[in-house]
C-alpha cells in the first residue's frame, strides 16, 4: 500500500485527518500534525534549518534560486595529517522551487559534533528516484511533501526576516537546549495550507535547570503565516492550589 506516490498522499491525508478537531456535523477548522510521527527525518531536517537560520540567511538571501536542499554527514578521515572527506553517509533532500536555472548553489558546514553539511543543489536524476524517508525510514531518502512544505516555510521566513532567532534568544536571555527531545508541531488550515510551525525542546532559559530526564523547557519557537518568528513561553492554563482541592475522604467530612 505504501509503495506508490498516491500512497504517500494517502498516508499523509490519514495523518492529517487523525488530528482533525471536528465536532460531528460542523465544519473542520485548523489541524495539527506532529512531524516527528509523520517523517522523523523531516523533523530533524527542519530543526537543523531553524537552529541555523542566521548561518543560512546570507546564503539563502543571495541565492537566486535552487532546486533542492541536501543535508548530509560527511565523515572525515585523516591521511598523513591531511583531512579528507570520505563522501556522503547520510542524505536528506527536499525539493525547493527554482527561481533561476544558473545558480551554482551553496554549501555550509553546520556547527555541532556531527559535522553536517547543508547544500543547495540541483535536483537531478540522481536524487529524484530516492525513496521517501517516511517510508524507507533511513537515509539516503527524500523528505515527504509535508516536510518539504515545512522547510520551504522556514526558508520563506529566513528570506523575509531581518530579525532572526539568534536576536530573539539574546533579547530573552535564552540558550539552545541540547537536553530535551525536539518536537515539530505543524498547523494546517482546512484546505491544507501550512499556517504555522512550532518547535519545542529547542530553547531554555539561561539559568533554567530542566529537572526530569523527559521534561521539556516551556519555551516554544513559532513561525506564523504572516512571516513572524516568535518565542512564547507555555504556562499551565489553570493553576491549582493543592490546599483548595478536596480528596474524597475530605468531601465526606
Amino acid at each position: 500500500m505504501f509503495k506508490c506516490g498516491a500512497g504517500i498522499l494517502f498516508v499523509t491525508a490519514i495523518l492529517f485527518s487523525s488530528t482533525l478537531s471536528v465536532a460531528k456535523g460542523s465544519e473542520p477548522t485548523s489541524q495539527e500534525v506532529i512531524l516527528n510521527y509523520v517523517d522523523p527525518l523531516g523533523a530533524y531536517f527542519s530543526v537543523e534549518i531553524l537552529k541555523n537560520m542566521s548561518l543560512i540567511s546570507s546564503s539563502v538571501k543571495s541565492s537566486s534560486g535552487f532546486h533542492a536542499l541536501q543535508l548530509s554527514r560527511t565523515p572525515t578521515i585523516i591521511v598523513k595529517s591531511k583531512v579528507m572527506e570520505s563522501g556522503l553517509s547520510t542524505t536528506f533532500i527536499v525539493d525547493m522551487p527554482s527561481k533561476a536555472g544558473n545558480d551554482p548553489g551553496w554549501r555550509l558546514t553546520l556547527p555541532g559534533a556531527q559535522a553536517y553539511v547543508l547544500e543547495a543543489v540541483e535536483a537531478n536524476e540522481v536524487f529524484m528516484p530516492l525513496p521517501f524517508c517516511a517510508i524507507q525510514k533511513t537515509p539516503p531518502c527524500k523528505l515527504s511533501e509535508t516536510s518539504s512544505k515545512v522547510v520551504l516555510f522556514e526558508i520563506q521566513h529566513i528570506t523575509s526576516q531581518s530579525v532572526l532567532l539568534d536576536s530573539l534568544l539574546r533579547e530573552r536571555d535564552l540558550v539552545w537546549d541540547d537536553q530535551s527531545s525536539k518536537r515539530v508541531i505543524t498547523k494546517w488550515s482546512a484546505n491544507g495550507t501550512l499556517i504555522g510551525v512550532e518547535f519545542t525542546g529547542l530553547l531554555r532559559g539561561k539559568g533554567e535547570r530542566i529537572v526530569a530526564p523527559d521534561a521539556t523547557s516551556t519555551f516554544v519557537v513559532g513561525l506564523s503565516i504572516d512571516g513572524r518568528v516568535s518565542i512564547r513561553q507555555r504556562e499551565a492554563d489553570e493553576a491549582v492550589n493543592p490546599n483548595a482541592i478536596l480528596f474524597s475522604f475530605e468531601e465526606q467530612k
Binding site: 498516491a6 494517502f10 527525518l41 518536537r183 526530569a212 530526564p213 516551556t218 489553570e238 480528596f247
Partner: protein, 393 residues
C-alpha cells in the same frame, strides 16, 4: 482502519478517493499508537471497565495482527493535551480512579534503541487521584518532581505528552483513603520532597545511615510526610510512586512501621533484574517478555522477537534520535548498550538460569517507571491495564 488498507491495496490511483469516502467514519483514529507488538499490552491483563460515559472521550481497541496484544484507547480532543480540561474530561468519563498509576508513554521510542524497547517506551510514572475543587471534579496527579503534580497540565511534562497508560492496582476502599491521606500530607508541604535524578540508585543504596532497605525507605517517606523528620525525601518518579504505595495499609494518624507493605511481591519489595523463566515473577528487564508470554506468543516466535526486535539497536544515526528521546535517555541507552547485548544473548541461548543469576548479581533491586507495566503484563501484584489516553480527536 481496515478500510484504509483495503483501499490502498486495491486502488493505487484511487487512494485519495478512498480516503475521502472512508475518513468521516474513522473519527478518533490515530497513528500515535502504531508501535511494535511487544510494546502493546496482553488482552488477558486488561481491567474490566465500565462503558465510558462522557461526550469528550471515545473508546476504541486496537490490536497487533493476532489480536492478543493491543491497547484500549481513550481518545481525548487534541486541544486538551496539556490542559486542565483533559483532567476534567477523564474524571467526567469515569476512566481514572484514585490510586491509578499513570505512565508517560513515548511511542517514538519504538524502533530506536534496545534500552528504550526494554523500557516499553515508558519514561515517567505518577499516581492519579480524582479530586474536587468547587463544582469541578478532575484528575490530580501526585508525582516526583513534586512540582509536576497537577491536573495534567504542568507544561514541562504534559504539554508534549502524546500518550498516557493507565495501570490500576487492586485497592480496597480503605487503602484508597489511606493513599489520599498521605497525598494530602505530601501536598501540604511539597518543599520536603525533591527529585533525585539517578534512576540506577534507589534511596536504600545511597549510603543514608537510616535507610538500608527498601522498607526503611518507605518508613522514611512516612516520617517526612508526618513531619517527624525534616527530610528531604529525594526520589525519582517511580521510586516515589512505589514508596507511596508502600503506605496503602497505613493510616497517617496511627502510623507504625508494621503496616508498611511494598506493592511488589518480591524478596526486597522492589524488582530484581530477571526472574528466570518468569516463574512466579518478572524483573526490571522483562516487560517485553511478559507481554509476549501473557499474549501466548509461541516460544520460538517470542525468542525471535526478543532477539531480533527488542534487544537490538535499530537506529544508529543520532539525527534520527533527537526528535524521539532526550539526551539523558539517549545517554542511558548508550551506557547500557553492553547490557542489552548480554540480554540478547540470554534470550538467544534459551534463558539459562545461571545466566539470569549472573545478570542479577550486577543489578540493584530497583523500580523503574516501566516496572508497573512489567508486573501488569505478567499478571502480578493485582495490577491491571486500564487503557491508554491519547489526544487525537
Amino acid at each position: 482502519m481496515k478500510a484504509f488498507y483495503i483501499c490502498g491495496v486495491l486502488w493505487r490511483s484511487s487512494c485519495v478517493l478512498c480516503f475521502f469516502l472512508v475518513v468521516p467514519e474513522s473519527y478518533g483514529s490515530s497513528d500515535v499508537l502504531n508501535v511494535s507488538s511487544f510494546m502493546m499490552t496482553p488482552k488477558a491483563t486488561w481491567a474490566d471497565v465500565q462503558d465510558v460515559t462522557g461526550v469528550n472521550v471515545d473508546t476504541t481497541e486496537t490490536f497487533a495482527e493476532d489480536g492478543s496484544l493491543g491497547f484500549r484507547v481513550f481518545h481525548l480532543r487534541s486541544s486538551v493535551r496539556g490542559k486542565k480540561q483533559a483532567a476534567l474530561d477523564l474524571a467526567a468519563a469515569g476512566i481514572i480512579e484514585s490510586g491509578d498509576i499513570l505512565l508517560s508513554f513515548r511511542p517514538l521510542w519504538d524502533r530506536t534503541l534496545a534500552y528504550a524497547h526494554m523500557q516499553l517506551g515508558i519514561s515517567h510514572s505518577s499516581i492519579a487521584f480524582v479530586v474536587r475543587e468547587g463544582d469541578q471534579r478532575f484528575v490530580m496527579t501526585l508525582e516526583s518532581p513534586i512540582s509536576y503534580s497537577s491536573p495534567l497540565n504542568y507544561p514541562e511534562h504534559y504539554a508534549d505528552l502524546d500518550a498516557i497508560h493507565v495501570v490500576r492496582p487492586t485497592l480496597e476502599h480503605d487503602q484508597k483513603t489511606n493513599l489520599e491521606r498521605w497525598a494530602r500530607l505530601i501536598l501540604n508541604d511539597p518543599e520536603r520532597f525533591r527529585f533525585f535524578g539517578d534512576y540506577s540508585m534507589p534511596m536504600y543504596r545511597r549510603g543514608m545511615p537510616e535507610i538500608r532497605s527498601p522498607i526503611e525507605q518507605v518508613e522514611y517517606l512516612a516520617q517526612v510526610a508526618l513531619g517527624v523528620v525534616s527530610g528531604p525525601f529525594e526520589s525519582y518518579c517511580s521510586e516515589f510512586v512505589w514508596s507511596v504505595f508502600g503506605l496503602r495499609n497505613c493510616s497517617p494518624s496511627t502510623f507504625e512501621k508494621g503496616c508498611i507493605s511494598p506493592m511488589f511481591d518480591t524478596a526486597s519489595g522492589m524488582l530484581p533484574g530477571i526472574v528466570p523463566q518468569m516463574v512466579n515473577g518478572a524483573g526490571l528487564v522483562q516487560g517485553p517478555e511478559a507481554a509476549l508470554v501473557n499474549a501466548d506468543i509461541p516460544d520460538l516466535e517470542r525468542r525471535a522477537i526478543l532477539t531480533g526486535s527488542v534487544f537490538v539497536d535499530v537506529v544508529g544515526d543520532p539525527s534520527q534520535l533527537s526528535g524521539r528521546m532526550s539526551s539523558g535517555h539517549l545517554k542511558v541507552a548508550e551506557d547500557n548498550r553492553g547490557n542489552m547485548k548480554l540480554l540478547n544473548g540470554y534470550y538467544a541461548s534459551g534463558e539459562p538460569i545461571a545466566a539470569a543469576h549472573g545478570i542479577n548479581s550486577t543489578v540493584t533491586d530497583n523500580v523503574s517507571p516501566t516496572s508497573f507495566l512489567v508486573r501488569s503484563n505478567a499478571q502480578l501484584d493485582g495490577l491491571k491495564y486500564v487503557g491508554t489516553v491519547v489526544f487525537d480527536r
